[in-house]
Symmetry: C2
Subunit: 147 residues, 2 copies
DNA sequence: GATAGTTGACATTTATAAATGTCAATAAAA
DNA sequence: TTTTATTGACATTTATAAATGTCAACTATC
């Protein structure tokens, strides 16, 4: 079980393989990334590397764009509604100065969160980021925090 | 104060006046409505009538489309994340069968909510609908319920 | 009762977001 | 050490969402 998860998260595909698996161009993949839709692993040589979980995440994004007709800015805005502050239980002081809490239009993992508990975290490893590798989870999380 | 609110909500503009105030065509206005973005008042003769609050609401929608580049389906999906169940405090049983709670991609006010407490409500009069006549309130509500 | 505005349905146009193309520098593999 | 892949930056193309056009039946206003 744990092994499977590890291997799902292991970044093993270069960008060309990821593009092939997703049936899209390398270009498009890099555009999505530039928009902040996802964060691939980067080797020390600055080359991108994708895990199976990354591929699944991007499938969701693709589906949102192509089937659900949600624009990239729409997806970013939806991600910005994820109640990250509840997931990571950050302090009131952190929230006051955190773009992820205050901001609109961009997912929290697009910001650098200076002077907060997220400052030195790698968002790719964060629960906020990882809980949404599957589609349609945003509303589920909103439901769960409103108990 | 109350007078001002009443007059803000009073449907006084025919569709042509609303279109002029918003600098858009009657066509576009009716398209947005068909998509479920808003619910104008309808006279018994089936003619639409818009209040000042309606105009403000549609300004927000316009801004989302034109400035923020969020597609109509994106806006619908964002509206579908409004935790209506918290606003109206509906029962667990109602939630189980309510599209507004279960569904994705459409605002709750697009559904007919059969066999729920919303069944015979006019969504145009509902707090869920009215709390979002101002822009950017969705995240605020998500914050407020996660206290 | 004549003129102007509204409705819904279907068709067409346009604006632009999304997707590719090109290229020179850098890194990996063969 | 030559070939193949990746990077970022800028330019161009294309697919299609958003916006209009048209029309015949219905409603309001004068």
């Amino acid at each position: 079980m744990t092994e499977i998860n590890i291997s799902n998260k292991e970044p093993i595909f270069p960008i060309s393989a990821a593009a092939k698996l997703l049936n899209i161009s390398v270009h498009t993949l890099r555009m999505y990334e530039r928009e902040g839709l996802f964060i691939p692993y980067k080797k020390d040589t600055n080359q991108r590397s994708y895990s199976k979980a990354d591929i699944e995440r991007i499938k969701c994004i693709r589906n949102a764009i192509n089937e659900s007709k949600i624009s990239i800015n729409g997806i970013k805005t939806i991600y910005s509604l994820i109640p990250c502050w509840q997931v990571i239980k950050c302090s009131e002081e952190d929230r006051k100065k955190c773009e992820g809490y205050i901001g609109h239009g961009k997912p929290c993992w697009s910001y650098s969160h200076p002077n907060t508990m997220c400052e030195n975290k790698n968002c790719r490893e964060c629960d906020v980021y990882n809980n949404f590798s599957e589609c349609g989870k945003v509303k589920e999380l909103i439901k769960s925090i409103s108990r």
